[in-house]
Amino acid sequence: MAMPTATALGERLSQLASQQGIQRWDLGAACSTDTSVQVDRGEAKQMKGAQRSSITVRVWNDEGLVGVTSTSDLSQSGLERALSGARDASAFGNPEDRPGFSPLATAPLPALEQPCLPPLPILQLLATLKEAERQLLDRHPAIATVPYNGLAQRSSERLYLNSDGACRQQQLSTASLYLYARAEEAGRKPRSAGAVRLAYGASDLDLEGCIHEAAERTISHLDYAPIETGHYTCVFSPEAFLDLIGAFSSLFNARAVLDGVSLSTRESLGQPLAVPFLSIHDNGLHPGNIGAAAFDGEGTPTGRLTLVEGGTLRHFLHSEATARAFGVAPTGHAGLGAKVSVGPSWFEVGPTADRKGGQQGLDQWGTGGEPLVVIDSLSALHAGVKASQGSFSLPFDGWLVRNGERRSIEAATVAGDIRQVLNAILGFEGEAKVTPDGLCPQVWVEGLSITGEA
């Protein structure tokens, strides 16, 4: 079996393109080897392995229009068909939006410290997950099952090549563990909660921390009560706040701005978006971002980008085409396609340095009789968020805190408008926490609508 390097793949594609009269092309490729296990009460539930490979080819025709085709068939005939398919599709390219090569596709890449760790045997993964499940079940008699669990590892490689000689390559190994426990006490509703851990290899996963967090969160929801519908000051966990920001990331997305489906416009840059002490950065290179990409789908290096500083919108996320439309440089947030998508990498949320404002020393345990709603995790973001309208209505798991005591909320939703949230932030509590989606402290927001079943 042939094993072409990036260079060899580029040469093959270059030859095939030449034979088809294609002068300008680029390619994104990815392959991975995955293994994963799930368990159910001490037994293997499912063990999976996968070898995947795929490429996406873009072709520019004589009129400068772009066509694209994707395939998992990396054989000679597959590559030929992909090229001809992309050439055919280019006849329907959009003359008003002609992606080009990123001017940064050959710029130096950031140095990433990402150890490539060898995969563990799948039966070792199974034994590890069985033991993790057993320990979680032993933490509390009410925890009867861990219905959603998984231990997975991946070795992967991705490439970006273009006909101007750009050649990007990144190899990576990652592993993940999730434990989602279900607990039930007699005469009470079942409750569930979980935890996730990421690492560069299965042997590096924080098993104990994941078990402990899943147990603590699940147990904390056993004693629950309904909440009265009304408006409350809410404390978002770092995970919940990052989920909310991510769901409304079209605020920062130049593609969405150009398409008219963002709440932001070109004129929003430099305008206030949030309280004057809030900063939001996108920083895929943060060491806490396991599996960070060194370059985006167009080969542009990734980096740290200020989105909001001092409450003011400073920059948008860009691809090559949107950057050209705005007269700025690409930011390393592009996908690869005929119409190039743009998306965030990893958020950093927190106070703006040297900016006063916001309440200091916030402590949910130190409040008096005024009730606080602590939002631990949000659900159904795909359904409950209207990004183009700014509104959201989302179920959540959390607690009602009053007089230093907290009690789980039986079932409730939080509703509001993202602009309202960003301008009703009272301050931050605690140190910023590294999560799979970013870095964020707990965030206090006043006056949000909570619907309960009381």
């Binding site: 079996m1 094993m3 990036a6 159910d40 037994e43 293997a44 063990m47 999976k48 392995g49 996968a50 070898q51 995947r52 490979s53 795929s54 694209v68 085709t69 994707s70 395939t71 998992s72 990396l74 005939s77 597959g78 992909a82 992309a86 329907f92 390219g93 003359p95 008003e96 939006d97 009867a144 099952t145 219905p147 070795s155 490689e157 190899q171 190994s173 279900r182 509703k189 079942p190 569930s192 398409d259 008219g260 005929a338 119409k339 659900s379 159904a380 795909h382 359904a383 409950g384 209207k386 309208q389 700014g390 509104s391 209505s393 179920p395 409730a412 939703t413 509703a415 609508s449 619907t451």
Partner: protein, 480 residues
Amino acid sequence: MVATIQSPGSPVSSSGFDQSWQSPLDDLLALGRAAGADLVEVFLERTDHLGVLAEQDAITSVSPAFGMGAGIRVFRGERDGFVSTNDLSPAGLRSALDQALGMLGLQLLSNARSDYPGLGRLRDFAAAKSGWLGESPSLADATAHLLAGTALLERHGTHLQARRGSYARDWQEVLVAASDGTFARDVRLHQSLGLTVLAADGEHRSSIGRRYGSHGQPDQLLRWDADASAREVCESAGSMLYADYVEAGQMPAVLANRFGGVIFHEACGHLLETTQIERGTTPFADKLGEPIAHQAVTAIDEGLSEGAFGSLAMDDEGMEPQRTVLIENGVLRRFLSDRAGELRTGHARTGSGRRQGHTFAAASRMRNTYIAAGAHTPEQLIASVDKGLYCKSMGGGSVGPTGQFNFAVEEGYLIENGRLTKPVKGATLIGEAKEVMPRISMCANDLDLAAGFCGSVSGSVFVTVGQPHIKVDSITVGGR
């Protein structure tokens, strides 16, 4: 060691899953059985996808994709191992089998024999479908129809800030071979059309979308009534543009037909899959023969309705689909089951083993799922409510691991004194299936279906949801 981009070996046949595959598959299955597997199943797949996006009055994306792959599943006792690969060469398939066997502590043996009898005659459900791909719309046809659709949005809408039309064509050829003799081939052709608008006037905004889908109807796009679709979308967007936010609370609700059925699908249907019994996450596991819903409710899941998005000639384990009555007059009658579900829960297979593609093992999944029609008119349902919510169009939703569901209401109206009054937005329906099902007290006589996609353990599959207008006596409505 890190994965590397590599060329696969040559597949047994690159032109399709013809008879030439029988011998190498026989060899593979025999090897698996000889190694000690109770059952070996091979799922082969070829795909051809076309996606087209029109925005305003331009085609902004054309995204063809094609591929092939295999998923090999090995059972031993109640355990199974599953490996997928893009490499359909004999060596690639053998390597995948070896890996799957290894998950169960088994290994390939060079000279072992087994009692594997060999594959039987191919059941070819694809015989009359060889022309489907060629008969489906050309790229030029697809782009022309989509642009006509977005132009009609402009004609019928007001305050439209963004107009989108999308078209997707998914062609799939599958071959299932298993050591129990299963040997079946099928071709599927799913097409979907979507129209979406964003209306904006100052601070007022509304976004509305509709999707239409079919299976096995190559000429669907050519028969599409774009004008009616555009009118429907624009009328909804116009109604919702200046709507007030709904007031939260408990209230009765009337849910419209068609996509209103997404609530039954998510809140109850998933809990009737044997996958959920295996996980211990359904409250209905021991309720067969018992009432779990109001007697007004009869619910069905089937894969037979002609042209419906969730219909199929065979499931992804080679079994022909059935019409499965899940709930009859409120009484639980049946669970949806696949091969693993039958093995682990004892519920007989229902032709419901489905998967997104070769990278997923099949699982028990819904097909066309709906609440049957009742005797009332929709007007009677609305007239029976003093103060409540009419959910004309539902957005997406989900159900959590404890059975709690939530759904966004895309287009809603207040019901006051038995009549529809003002539009309201921002509503979310929240509840638990076992509490809400007994509160569905009235079903109307206007059953209709709608196409959708369902994401779950075996990936995203094509489904149909449906219902007549139904009345829920009390449900939690999240709002402002």
